[in-house]
Amino acid sequence: METQQIFEKYPPGDPSVLIPILQDIQEVQGYLSEEEMNKVATHTKLPVSRIYGVATFYNQFRLKPLGKYIIRVCRGTACHVKGSLDILQTLENELEISAGDTTKDLQFSIETVACIGACSIAPVISINDEYYGHLTVKKIQKLIAEYRQK
């Protein structure tokens, strides 16, 4: 879907639709480019600074493209007491990037989330739409190796 088609769903000049528009664009393109944010500013009749302000305020929005596999590491309290920091550090070591970044080959991105809500299988991560629970440092290395093969 083109950005123009997204705009057609929302009336021009209405500031309250800003977040849904940005969500839709990111859904299609994976991230928010400067070019798209300029277009949004024209459509909503808001200054670009306001668009940028909103895009950087919320954790959901990304200004850089993401990898093929998005690894979300749950950093909720239950996961924390069950060792999610080790899981995160292992991932960062394995992929040689820190949380919030994407590997150079655009294969993997690591993000942290406040809580996935699957506390029963803590510590938990999700890779795209798959959940992996009861993780250990060893399991995570195997998992990444499997994804590298894909």
Partner: protein, 669 residues
């Protein structure tokens, strides 16, 4: 079994000449024998359809799968697919239904089987491999698979030859619970409006619209003593009263479903398991304050909840229970969903309003309160999911009934998300006034692996960690405040001896510090300074370059409590005003652990890495070189097949070597 929207066929047949057949339907369902002005034939038709819809009377076997997020995370989708394929292969005529979550997350995936004339039986910890056996044994041969059972629902009365199986309500996890809000969760199909209506749904809304006026509704909620379930515990009825009295041509009802507390998933369970309940509550609230438009502000991280809400709103509209001129009473209420974009501060009501308006989610100064000038400057009420879900229950059963549950000042039940180091992780609903000990030990089953209980953290980043000495405190708003915690939204994280309380405070401060919106200085700067102090506490002497650094470390501890007080007293919104609670409560109850970190540079739980020294047991080390290869800092030296050693100055304590050693040769001191 009846198809979706079966009632629609019934009321178009039975009451086709009426403008509002749904009203007749709900009257028939709620009548207690007096018929409510309806003929015997009508009552009979409705009853037989109700039995069919609620599986009291059906011809095909029914398989119900718990497919909330936790079920899905445990592989429920694969099990669903496996059942589907197998039933097709064997040509078995059975119905496969996905339900919400019954709350017993530790035993997921839960599969219920309901055979005609048999009670509903629950199997737990089901895997894909179990599917053929369940189909063969239970569905075809009508036999119980003993090792897999969780329990049977007694509801249908005819336990038959399955009487040896536990009843659901006798299981310790369920025994002390009182399911009022979660009564339908995991039991009915959340996507079926027919099942919801059959179970008494929308009777409260009908009662409000046809037998009460807005003042009466507000009074009923006030008399029931319902208080906000999102944290502060403000009386819901009072909030509604203020908004109802507020003058304005346009008013809004907003549902706060931005459940951002780490370790809390009550609202998600309600939205995934019984979304109509919350929607009905919102419609009643709208009627009470005179609003005609509402928003559900839901986290984008809950895609399943959003999808179910969308269907719920669509179905309720098709039945005339939402939208324009509801049940012909002239009352209109339109509901929209707004997806949150991931900001914890949006759980604060005025920040949430800003976010709906398309702005950055920063709180507004109060007053004016939202009940005077809220969304788009119009009078608005904001309640969270659980609060709204309490409303239909309260109204249907009456304020007298409702106010009998709970304690003097805290009425009703509260849902807690029990997680962490506890055997029965899951969602529990208990009447207010039970003790934390009952929740953790009787319902939760205590601590696994023979470890020692240390603390239970209640209320997320705004709450506190409570030790053994105070967990006999009853759960109600005031008692929890008096021991330095708060109800919060209902996350309960249990901790054992392997959790470090300084690290816990640091964890929450890291969270709060990154989620602070930056509008007011005490919260933005204060939480950062608090975090720095905590980080210095658990840092090694190696990190200190001068004597001044060491002095700063002690100075920080001196200022820790004072700084906390300043943040609490001067922050703009609830986030800042409660930000220091995790620090204060851990100092209050675990001061000796802070002192150990400060004076002895020791972490008794072995969590604060900088205070540990990694060593290799030369007797156990085989020289396999795995640790040396895994070490990101090249801090491990040694020849192949000879014992290795760690250069302490280079070691960054990443734990990679210990986690990867196959011979348990690496230990910490």
């Amino acid at each position: 079994m009846a198809d979706m929207n079966t009632y629609k066929n019934l009321f178009t047949n039975l009451w086709k000449d009426q403008d509002f057949p749904v009203k007749s339907l709900i009257e028939c369902l709620s009548s207690n024998g007096d018929g409510n002005g309806h003929s015997e034939a009508e009552l009979q038709a409705v009853k037989s359809l109700k039995d069919e819809i609620l599986l009291e009377n059906h011809e095909e076997p029914v398989i119900l799968l718990g497919m909330g997020t936790c079920g899905l995370a445990n592989g429920a989708q694969k099990i669903y697919d496996a059942f589907k394929t197998l039933l097709n292969e064997k040509n078995i005529n059975a119905k496969l239904i996905s339900t919400g979550c019954v709350g017993y997350c530790a035993r997921e995936v839960i599969v219920d089987i309901k055979l005609p004339n048999y009670p509903r039986i629950s199997y737990c910890e089901v895997t894909v491999e179990d599917v053929p056996e369940i189909v063969e044994q239970t569905i075809i041969n009508k036999q119980v698979i003993v090792g897999k059972t969780l329990g049977v629902y007694e509801k249908n009365g005819h336990a038959g030859d399955w009487s040896s199986v536990n009843k659901m309500e006798d299981i310790p996890f369920f025994k002390k619970q009182k399911k009022v809000v979660l009564a339908n969760c995991g039991v009915i199909d959340p996507e079926s409006i027919d099942q919801y209506i059959s179970n008494g749904g929308y009777q409260a809304l009908t009662k409000a619209l046809t037998q009460m006026d807005s003042e009466k509704v507000v009074k009923e909620v006030l008399d029931g003593g319902l208080r906000g379930r999102g944290g502060g515990g403000f009386p819901t009825g009072l909030k509604w009263k203020l908004a109802a009295q507020s003058k304005g041509d346009k008013k809004y009802v907003v549902c706060n479903a931005d459940e951002g507390d780490p370790g809390a998933f009550m609202d998600r369970a309600v939205m995934e398991g019984d979304p109509h309940l919350m929607v009905e509550g919102m419609a009643i609230a709208a009627f009470a304050i005179g609003a005609d438009e509402g928003y559900v502000y839901c986290r984008a991280e809950y895609p399943l909840a959003i999808a179910r809400l969308e269907k719920t709103i669509k179905d309720a509209k098709a039945y005339g229970l939402l939208g324009d001129n509801i049940l012909g009473t002239g009352f209109s209420f339109n509901l929209k969903i707004k997806k949150g974009a991931g900001a914890f501060v949006c759980g604060e009501e005025t920040a949430l309003l800003n976010s709906i308006e398309g702005k950055r989610g920063m709180p507004r100064p109060k007053p004016p309160y939202p009940s005077d000038a809220g969304l788009f400057g119009k009078p608005t009420i904001i309640n969270n999911v659980e609060t709204f879900a309490n409303v239909p229950v309260l109204l249907r059963n009456g304020a007298d009934w409702y106010s009998k549950i709970g304690t003097e000042n805290s009425k009703g039940t509260k849902i807690f998300a029990l997680s962490g180091k506890v055997k029965n992780v899951g969602l529990v609903e208990v009447p207010m006034g039970v003790t934390l000990r009952e929740i953790v030990f009787d319902i939760g089953g205590g601590i696994p692996d023979g470890k020692e209980f240390k603390a239970v953290q209640i209320g997320g980043p705004s709450g506190g960690a409570l030790p053994d000495s105070v967990i006999d405190t009853p759960v109600d708003y005031e008692s929890l405040k008096s021991i330095g915690a708060m109800m919060g939204s209902g996350g309960l994280v249990v901790m054992d001896e392997t959790t470090c309380m300084v690290d816990l405070a640091k964890y929450f401060m890291t969270f709060i510090q990154s989620e602070s919106c930056g509008k007011c200085i005490p919260c933005r700067e204060g939480t950062k300074r608090l975090l720095e102090i905590l980080e210095r506490l658990s840092s090694s002497h190696r990190a200190e370059k001068s004597a001044e650094d060491s002095l700063m470390r002690f100075q920080g501890m001196v200022y820790l409590e004072r700084l906390s007080e300043v943040i609490i007293n001067t922050s703009l919104c609830g986030l800042g005003q409660t930000a220091a609670n995790p620090v204060l409560s851990t100092i209050r109850y675990f001061r000796e652990e802070y002192e150990e970190h400060l004076y002895d540079r020791k972490c008794r739980a072995g969590v604060c890495r900088d205070l540990l020294t990694y060593k290799i047991d030369t007797d156990k080390c085989t020289g396999c070189t795995v640790c040396a290869r895994k070490c990101p800092e090249n801090a491990i030296l040694g020849e192949r097949k000879k014992a290795h050693y760690i250069i302490d100055d280079k070691c960054i304590r990443c734990d990679q070597c210990r986690a990867n050693c196959k011979f348990d040769a690496i230990y910490v001191e």
